[in-house]
Structure formats: structure tokens, C-alpha cells
């Protein structure tokens, strides 16, 4: 399949379309059979693939770590426990370095973010046609669907909904802790009385409001953008003749090992930083 062929565009589009479940404009419920139908469903629809993969990976994370947590002892750790302790120690160190208050939530939150986002990103390294082909096979043979209508975008972090869902949760925590630590008046004061004092309240509010809202938006868009771009490159590489694909996909995949860890780390680190800022009194 060459890049010039007319099906290249539809191949890419097909790969970038989520499996969407929602209400059709005519009132019936079901899966969207095209990007247009998915868009027409509006806000009250869900991306089944994104949710399924992220929940499955989240459960995998909790299952693995729970096993290790149950076996946690002061004896010499082995295997899985070693790995889990390494992760916990790493996250604990990162949190302690940045966040100086006392909070029972932040460290486990950071661990969850790091491991979960990493696992979601890791899906990026699965060959682009592998899971969609499995999904298509199941869709056609189990549900009797039209193969062209079975969409399956298996990297949840290439779905803005997933990254925004997490970053908005972080945003809620930022606001919650800001109010908890500084009180409502303190929080409002922080938003309106600086940097230019009380005679410039509207301007201050605009400035600080944008600054506050930029946190979740940038958090979500950074992760989404990096992974979306990376996945798109993989899809483009998949359009090359099969004998040539490895020459590009292998280096890109190796490079992406770095990117997915780095993005997971950045998401975690920025979450810690934002929450520690929320805890600080000016």
C-alpha cells in the first residue's frame, strides 16, 4: 500500500477514529459507523476502546502492585516486589523532593499517574495494526459488525478525553487543596490580588485565571500531543511496503521508549509541582 493510494487517507482516518458508543441523531443507541456519526453524537457518547484499555491497564497496575503490597516485608525482596519497591521509592523520592507538606494523597496519586500513564503510553509500542485487527476479528465474528465500522484506537493517551480526564481530576485537586490550605478568601485573594495589588483586580483575575486554567490544559495537551504525534508516525510507517517498515519503525520505537517514560514522568512531576504550589501560602 503506497502513501499515494486513495486508501491511505482512509487507513489513517480509520486508525485515528475511536470506537464510539452513543445516541444517534435519530434517537437510537449504538456504535458510530463513521467519524461523522461519532461527531454527531455530541458530548453524551463514550469511547469504548479508550475506557476499556485504560481501565484494563489500570486494573493490571493495581493487581500487580497489590500482590507486591500484600507480600511486602522487611525480608530481601525478589522479582516483582523488587520492581514495585523501586517504583514506590522512586515516586516517593520525587514527591519528597518537591512537596514539603504532609499529604496522604499526593504520593499514591503520583504513583498511580506515573505507572498508569506509562502503561497507557506503552500501548504505543504495540504494532499499530495488531490490536485493531484483533478487535475487528472479534467485532466481525462475535457481533457480526461490518469490518469497516469496527474502530479501535488502542492507545488511550492519544485520546484527548483520557488525558483531559486525568488533568481535570488534578485540576479539581489543585482547587480543593488551594481552598483547604488557604481558605476560600485566601484562594480568591491569590487569584485577584496579585501580581498588581487591589487596584487591578480584574486584570489580576484574568492573568491568574488563565494561569490556573493553563495548568490542566497544558498537562492534557502535552501528553496527548506527544503520544498522538508518535502514534501517527507509527501509522505512517505502517503505510510503507512491509519489507521497509522495520528500518523506520524500530528506531522510532526505540526513541519512543524514552518518550513514553518521559511523558509519564512529566505528567507525574507537574502534578506534584502543581499540588505543592496549591499547598503553599504566598
Amino acid at each position: 500500500m503506497g502513501i499515494e493510494s486513495p486508501s491511505a487517507a482512509s487507513y489513517i482516518k480509520h486508525h485515528l477514529q475511536n470506537l464510539t458508543f452513543g445516541q444517534h441523531p435519530d434517537g437510537t443507541w449504538g456504535f458510530a459507523h463513521s467519524a461523522k456519526e461519532a461527531a454527531e453524537m455530541g458530548f453524551w457518547a463514550i469511547h469504548v476502546d479508550t475506557l476499556a484499555v485504560s481501565v484494563a491497564l489500570g486494573l493490571l497496575f493495581l493487581w500487580l502492585f497489590r500482590i507486591a503490597a500484600k507480600k511486602a516485608s522487611t525480608d530481601t525482596p525478589t522479582g516483582l516486589q523488587n520492581f514495585v519497591e523501586l517504583m514506590v521509592e522512586f515516586v516517593d523520592g520525587s514527591v519528597k523532593e518537591t512537596f514539603h507538606g504532609k499529604s496522604k494523597v499526593i504520593a499514591p496519586l503520583a504513583l498511580t499517574i506515573f505507572v498508569w500513564v506509562f502503561l497507557l503510553n506503552l500501548m504505543d509500542l504495540v504494532p499499530v495494526d495488531f490490536l485493531p485487527a484483533v478487535a475487528q476479528f472479534i467485532g466481525v465474528n462475535v457481533f457480526g459488525a461490518d469490518p469497516h465500522h469496527v474502530y479501535f484506537k488502542f492507545v488511550p493517551t492519544t485520546d484527548l478525553n483520557a488525558t483531559l480526564g486525568m488533568s481535570l481530576s488534578v485540576f479539581v485537586l489543585i482547587v480543593f487543596y488551594s481552598i483547604k490550605v488557604k481558605g476560600i478568601s485566601g484562594f480568591v485573594g491569590e487569584l485577584t490580588l496579585q501580581p498588581f495589588g487591589k487596584w487591578m483586580i480584574p486584570f489580576n483575575f484574568l492573568l491568574e485565571g488563565v494561569g490556573l486554567l493553563a495548568k490542566p490544559v497544558s498537562l492534557a495537551l502535552r501528553l496527548f500531543g506527544n503520544l498522538y504525534a508518535g502514534e501517527l508516525i507509527f501509522i505512517l510507517i505502517a503505510l510503507l511496503p512491509w519489507g521497509l517498515q522495520w528500518a523506520l519503525s524500530v528506531p522510532w520505537a526505540i526513541f519512543h521508549i524514552l518518550v513514553i517514560v518521559l511523558q509519564a514522568f512529566i505528567f507525574m512531576m507537574l502534578t506534584i509541582v502543581y499540588l505543592s504550589m496549591a499547598h503553599e501560602d504566598h
Binding site: 457518547a45 475506557l51 493495581l62 514506590v88 504513583l111 498511580t112 484527548l160 483520557a162 486525568m166
Partner: protein
């Protein structure tokens, strides 16, 4: 790119995962880690203490060894001295004994000689009397002349 309910679903699952992690994953692991690091710190401290104790014991052992060496040397010296002294004493004793024995022997010899002389003298006097009797043919008053005979015997 459609923003839709997925966002809420993701946020809810995120919250549940964080809650689970906070309740069931983080505390046991971090508790084990802290306990282990405390255990290691204790172990290191114990090792330090033990090596300090060892050093102390070594020193003490060295001191005891040194003392006992000194003691032994002293005892040997004393024994040597005592042995020499005993030998000297024995020598002196022997010399003194020898001298005394010699003196005793000498005295006895002299006494014997004296006694022999005495006996001889007596016999000579008796012999002289007998001879004189024979010569004179008469009995001599032994008492009256014993003086003369004795004098004679002394001249022998």
C-alpha cells in the same frame, strides 16, 4: 477529536484507581520500605558497635597478654635467683660439713693417739716395774716408786 463522556469516565476510573492505590497499595509498601531502612540502619549501627567492641576486646587481650608475659618473666627471674641462692647455700653447707667432719676426725685421731700413748705409758710402767722387780728381786712398793716410774714413762 470529540470531547465526550469518555472524559468523565476516565476521571472516575482515575479517582477509583488513586483511591485504591492510596488505601491498599501505598501504605504497606512504604511501611515495609521504612521498616527495612530502619532495620538496615540498626544493623549498620550494631555492626559499628560490634567492631568497636572487637577493637576494645583486642586491646584488652593484648594488655592481658603483655601483663602475663611480664609476670612470667618476673617469675622466671625469681626462680633463677632462688635456684642460684639454693646452690650457693648448698655449697656453703657442704664446705662447712666437710670442715666439721675433718675437724672431728682430727680430734678423734688425736684422742686415739693420746689414749694409745697413755696405755703405752701404763704398760711401760708396769713393764718397768716387772723388769725392776725381776732385776732387784725384791718387791718394790709400787706406790712409793710409781712417781719415779711415771717420770720414766714420760721420758719415753
Amino acid at each position: 477529536m470529540n470531547l465526550n463522556l469518555t472524559l468523565v469516565g476516565q476521571a472516575i476510573s482515575f479517582a477509583i484507581f488513586v483511591w485504591f492505590c492510596m488505601k491498599f497499595v501505598w501504605p504497606p509498601v512504604i511501611a515495609a520500605l521504612e521498616e527495612r531502612s530502619k532495620k538496615i540502619a540498626d544493623g549498620l549501627e550494631a555492626a559499628n558497635r560490634a567492631s568497636r567492641d572487637l577493637e576494645l576486646a583486642q586491646e584488652q587481650a593484648d594488655k592481658i597478654l603483655r601483663d602475663s608475659k611480664e609476670n612470667a618473666a618476673e617469675i622466671i627471674e625469681q626462680a633463677n635467683k632462688r635456684a642460684n641462692q639454693m646452690i650457693d647455700e648448698a655449697k656453703e653447707q657442704v664446705i662447712a660439713d666437710g670442715k666439721r667432719l675433718r675437724e672431728a676426725a682430727q680430734a678423734e685421731i688425736e684422742q686415739d693417739a693420746l689414749r694409745a700413748k697413755e696405755a703405752l705409758r701404763a704398760q711401760v710402767s708396769a713393764l718397768a716395774f716387772a723388769g725392776a722387780e725381776k732385776i732387784l728381786g725384791a718387791t718394790i712398793d709400787e706406790k712409793a716408786h710409781s712417781e719415779i716410774v711415771e717420770q720414766l714413762a714420760k721420758e719415753l
